[in-house]
Amino acid sequence: MTTFPEAARRELANDQLRTNLRNATETIRAKRGRAVAELPDWEALRDAAKAIKEDVLANLGPYLERFEEEVTAAGGHVHWARDAAEANAVVVEVARRHDATEVVKVKSLTTDEIGLNDALAAAGIHALETDFAELILQLDGDWPSHILVPAIHRNRTEIRDLFARTIAPGITSDDPRDLAEASRAYLRERFLAARVGVSGANFGIVETGSVCVVESEGNGRMCTTLPPVLVTILGIEKLLPRFADLGVLLQVLPRSSTGERMNPYTSLWTGVTAGDGPQELHVVLLDNGRTRVLADEVGRQALHCIRCSACLNVCPVYSRTGGHAYGSVYPGPIGAILTPQLHGIEHAASLPFASSLCGACYEVCPVKIDIPRVLVHLRAKAVEATGGAGERAAMETAAWAFESPRHLSIAQRAGALLTRPFARGGSLHRLPPPLRAWSRTRDLKAPATRSFRRWWRKERS
């Protein structure tokens, strides 16, 4: 995998991306701020949301079994998947049993995580993305750069040209209204005729066995209501113990995510309801690394995440590099702690360092994930996993220097002497290897030729 610094350098060179991102993150950030400020009990809601998710993780086993029981009692089928391949196999098998050559899909990070579309394609089944932005990306072979607005790196004229080449020959307008209309017209017949729908889920309710999907466009309702068969893939951490917990989560999620008081559509369904919606329901409970995250005392709080994307919009790193630099379906601060834990730190060792540890992400997180703390924790693991001999030597030198006044004085003199050849105009812009990489993105004031302590001694004598 490309490391974050390499990918970030590529993304930072993209002016359009940076302009679009700045506009998007600033706009959503301001909207979120207003939506949150309006509630007098915001902090109490966060405390409740966090405690609900802690409760879920601490009792996950019994909760999963109860959820399975409830879904089954309501006429649904529950499947357990240890990994991506097993989850994909369920969807392929269901589609095959119904001779479906196409399934309609609601935007879902979980299905992106497991590479469902590719797995279906390999079985000769087309997974049609129906979220507006996801459709745009699918038509162009591109991939999401933001959790909430996945195609934010694309402009309206590009999208118009893409539609003219693909789903709406002859379209000339680049008005978002006309583009949305084109996607509505293109997808309508596919929704009406679909035999199998596939969705992720925002929440699964333990006490009732209900599944909850939160969305804006109505494509989620289409995919989960019209096809006679529905497969829902649910990460095992997405449970909520009680139905009443929705009263908390459905307040913090929309306000944190789109900055709305409530998103246009939220759907809940429980198993199968005669005469209404799919008459065959499959729920796939997915592990795929989640139990590995759960086992880490510090890192497990990443599983509280409700995918609102508020942390992306406030992050000084994300708002410049965009989502592609993170090389994962989970970008931004939450991605920096989730990806290395889900896939193993050795596969994403650079991600915990893609942060200035400013803490803005923690402040906005509706479920109070202490992202900076987990980042520091993972940095230690990354250093352990990848050696980090240079860093260790530097830290040991620093430890020695701060051990006694005499050591510090020696270190200061040595530092001034050694860096003098590299100082230009009182600053260090470019250091020799192995420090070059560090100095590439940082300027350092050149050490003074005489330390304060030496000057003081002289003044006082």
């Binding site: 109490a44 309702r221 309801t273």
Partner: protein
């Protein structure tokens, strides 16, 4: 077709075993602190006004009418919006049904048949003032979920007594009435997307036009 698990039973046992071992050290909170607002403070009149204002802010067209005016208000909306065929659920009160349009009673219409109608008229179960949300639970006057989804226009009748102030109150009420396992749809304004340059477009796949008729209580 053969139902049941499509995977080896080992997957279930394995996941549960991993969960048990991983969660062993996780501490559960003694109880969930529920210090957030769970009971509204507004008088019914203020609650109704707040609902109308908030639903209107999401570009739903909100009108306050008396119970006897529902049919006429709906007929007016249909005429102004060019709705000729209007779907209604079987249990829709007769007094609400407008004249001047073709009423199509949903007795299991196919998706294509639904698509050939221009609008839908339904009641609701609850509404939330603070967020301008209406809640449908597939009751007799609401019909199945597809009715309020496929046609391009939705007229929803909300009576003042159905309006609660806060989100948690709505979920408590749904559970208390034994509706938690029903198909539940929360609707806040017409369907929308901001996917292109964050510019908001109303109406993608759901109805592009949402009308809410709020019934004044007869005192």
């Amino acid at each position: 077709m053969a139902q049941g698990a499509l995977l080896s039973p080992d997957a279930r046992a394995d996941v549960l075993r991993r969960v048990a071992s991983a969660a062993a050290g996780a501490h559960a909170p003694l109880s969930v602190p529920r210090g957030y607002r769970r009971h509204g403070a507004l008088q019914p009149e203020e609650r109704g006004e707040l609902f109308c204002r908030r639903a209107g802010e999401y570009r739903a067209d909100v009108r306050r009418v008396h119970a006897r005016e529902v049919a006429a208000a709906c007929a007016e909306i249909c005429a102004a919006s060019g709705v000729r065929r209007l779907v209604v659920p079987q249990g829709l009160p007769t007094a609400w049904r407008p004249s001047g349009v073709e009423l199509v009673v949903d007795e299991g219409l196919s998706a294509h048949e639904l698509d050939a109608t221009d609008g839908a008229l339904t009641g609701c179960t609850l509404a939330i003032a603070e967020t301008g949300t209406i809640i449908l639970t597939a009751g007799p006057a609401e019909g199945r979920r597809a009715i309020s989804l496929v046609p391009d226009l939705h007229v929803c009748v909300v009576s003042e007594g159905q309006i609660v102030e806060l989100v948690p109150e709505a979920f408590t009420a749904l559970a208390d009435r034994g509706l938690a396992r029903r198909p539940i749809t929360l609707i806040s304004g017409p369907s929308a997307t901001s996917d292109i340059e964050l510019s908001r477009v109303e109406g993608v796949h759901g109805p592009r036009n949402l009308f809410v008729l709020v019934l004044r209580e007869v005192s």
